[in-house]
Symmetry: C2
Subunit: 109 residues, 2 copies
């Protein structure tokens, strides 16, 4: 299964902010930003989330807003943060958000 | 009528991002950021919104998240952007958001 992603110039700031404005999604983005290869399962393990089905919606919101890419890789989906695209469109935004999330100690619950 | 506002240290980044992640609210914040004294009516006039009632919810979201203050001033409510508080908590965030909103030409509809 392949997913549709907005092109860089189709990304809208209100969509990005709305996508990041949820503790579970913001926590997932922090995991992706911390580096390493991630699929859905590995992010959930880091976050301590066991209900995989509830994340399907969150991955879609992050994907549709242009925050992440979700692409098939073997039997899994590789998840990546679209940092280059986001930094190009909104300089300084992602860094300010991630620093703020660290300041606030955003967690999934 | 007086409204409750979170103290600076009660502001949470996911709440701020969620509040800003809506075109009407983001447009209203841009109006407040542009300067001048504003009440609900004057912001609506700038935005070209005639349905005052639909804004009541948006003002509450912006207020509860710590993005704006809404305080009685005579027979009106004075609206102000909490720039000092937001800049103190999340350096660079509000500027990056406002620049991004300008880039995208965010409007209310």
């Amino acid at each position: 299964m392949t997913y549709r992603h907005p092109d860089r110039d189709q990304i809208r700031i209100e969509g990005v902010l709305s996508a990041l404005g949820h503790p579970v999604r913001l926590s997932a983005v922090r995991v992706l930003d911390a580096g390493g290869e991630h699929n859905c399962g590995s992010v959930l393990r880091v976050l301590g989330i066991t209900a995989k089905s509830t994340m399907t919606h969150h991955w879609r919101v992050l994907r549709d807003s242009g925050v992440i890419r979700q692409e098939p890789a073997g039997r899994e989906n590789l998840l990546t943060l679209r940092r280059v695209d986001l930094d190009a469109r909104y300089p300084g935004l992602l860094d300010a958000v991630l620093v703020g999330a660290a300041t606030d100690g955003v967690t999934t619950g």
